[in-house]
Amino acid sequence: MLDLTNRPDLVIVADWIKPDSRVLDLGCGDGALLSHLAHHKRVNGYGLDLEDKYIPRCIHAGINIIQMDLDRGLAEFADNSFDYVVLSLTLQAMRHPEKLLEDMLRVGREGIVTFPNFGHWRARVQLGIFGSMPFTKTLPNTWYNTPNIHLCTLKDFEFLCKTLNIHILEHQAVDSEHRSNPGLKLFPNLLGEIALYRFERG
């Protein structure tokens, strides 16, 4: 079984998911989340990823993996076929994040996304004071060579949810060590490095 030591954000996501549910994990990587859920919560489902290196790893971990490009959308998945559709640290790399969010709620009862917060104070200082694109632990790419083409802040994400009539059920912001603290709860958009949201159709 793969553990979630390196991905504490997924520990929070795993906590949100009820036992015996069906999960579609978009951008599942090495299958750590599904593997964890399968062993601890009898969860079944599929992981989707495009990267070659993850396919044998997921198979090895006993995870169902389907190799596909998420930018193709989820058209091949039937309406309401999953309890949860998870998208962790991938939203910002999608060509059409808004379409994918809608697709997630077509295919699943609930959606869960996590993404790096572009409104974090370090990013703001780097851009606002020093005038250069942020380069941080959670945003470790140069502007010219990054998969992250649609970065947003917590505020931006919540505004999009409102526009798309998506109802946020639960949210949390954590630091780069994926920990929470009282300050983070007070100023999530300023202090949160990673944002986590659970939502449903409004």
Partner: protein
């Protein structure tokens, strides 16, 4: 010829023939009163019978999936890259069975077999058999071998179609299905290629409406063209460019109709090595079996419905440059499987080799395939 048989080969193998007395009612309505299947096995069946794998062959291959008949053999079995001790399909752990399908020309009952009543080869009178008929005959072979449930049924191309059929027709008799470079049905373009191949054979003056055996002839010209055409479609434009480009065989063009380019020479070589080893009537029959395969034909075109009886776990693989059985065809299969909430994994392997990639040692292909075989291995006792 290998200097010596490589240590990761199953080594010298001997085929076995089984005579089946039970009549087999075929999809086309006819009945084979009795028939023979020739098969090979590699590895040892364990005490609980849980380590048996069935390998299904494609259009022009046969039961000789691995190993050598003789140390002097130029070539080993057709899936030597995959099947052997310590290989992806590890014969140290698994008991592997591969049979020549009915209608074949390598020892199983087919058009070139002597008809018991007439004393002459069946020829064109041999009934067209379908993928479904093959699977029934393979299930009977499993009975003979004392195999109740296959750990996995595995096949590429037309072999992958047999795997799909197994999962639908005998859901309790396999735990895993490995479907490689396959399709749930042929496209019009694919059927068209098959028809050109058949016309090449049937219009050869030596064909004699399929009764060529009695005339001591063989429609070699037709079969050669059919094979050349097939070969072009099994490769990709890229791999042909890479292998041959516009290379000239003799360094200059000849301004005549002999071989100028290397690719022509290659096609002629492929054709040469095919005729004499393959029966034209079998080629016709096998292409028909391909054309007719369409499990969703009984469910108003709904493949998800057709696959509803399946209960095993699936591994589906396709190759990016395969235009004869393209990744889209595999994606359709995968969709139908997850529509049924079945366990399925799917890998789209980057490869320039075209359809023939499923026979090759492509690192990502071997990684994925081996990972899945390892998973199956964990379950056997």
């Amino acid at each position: 010829m290998p200097d010596s048989i490589p240590p990761d080969s199953v080594g010298l193998v001997t085929p076995t023939t089984h005579h089946f007395q039970d009549p087999l009612k075929l999809s086309g309505g006819e009945t084979l009163p009795d028939y023979e299947l020739v098969y090979e096995t590699y590895g040892k069946l364990n005490a609980s019978g849980s380590n048996a794998l069935l390998v299904c062959h494609a259009l022009s291959s046969n039961h000789h999936a691995a190993g050598y008949y003789d140390p002097a053999d130029k070539k080993p079995g057709w899936w030597e890259n995959i099947v052997g001790p310590g290989k992806t399909i590890n014969t140290d752990r698994f008991f592997v069975v591969c049979c020549n399908n009915l209608g074949g020309c390598f020892g199983s009952t087919g058009p070139s077999t002597i008809h018991p009543l007439t004393g002459k080869p069946y020829g064109p009178d041999f009934p067209i058999v379908t993928v479904r008929d093959w699977v029934i005959s393979q299930a009977r072979l499993a009975d003979v071998l004392g195999i109740d449930t296959w750990a996995a049924v595995i096949g590429g191309s037309l072999g992958g179609m047999q795997v799909l059929q197994w999962s639908m027709d005998y859901p309790d008799r396999l735990r895993h299905a490995i479907v490689i470079a396959a399709s749930s049905k042929l496209t019009a373009q694919n059927i068209a290629f098959n028809e050109v191949a058949r016309q090449a054979i049937r219009s050869d003056p030596d064909f004699h409406d399929g009764h060529y055996y009695e005339n001591g002839t063989e429609p070699q010209r037709g079969l050669r063209i059919a094979r050349m055409l097939g070969h072009i479609t099994y490769l990709s434009d890229d791999i042909m460019g890479e292998k041959f480009g516009r290379d000239l065989r003799d360094g200059k063009i000849g301004f005549d109709y002999s071989v100028d380019f290397q690719v022509e020479s290659y096609l002629r070589y492929q054709a040469d090595s095919f005729v004499g080893n393959f029966d034209a009537n079998t080629y016709l029959l096998m292409t028909k079996a391909l054309d007719y395969f369409d499990p969703a034909g009984h469910t108003q075109g709904n493949l998800s419905k057709a696959l509803a009886p399946a209960s095993c776990e699936f591994m589906v693989m396709s190759f990016t440059s395969d235009w004869r059985f393209s990744p889209e065809r595999s994606q359709e299969i995968v969709k139908a499987l997850h529509d049924n909430s079945l366990n399925v994994s799917y890998a789209e392997i980057q490869a320039s080799h075209g359809h023939d990639a499923f026979l090759m040692k492509i690192p990502q292909y071997l990684n994925v395939f081996s990972a899945y075989m390892h998973r199956i291995e964990q379950e056997i006792d």
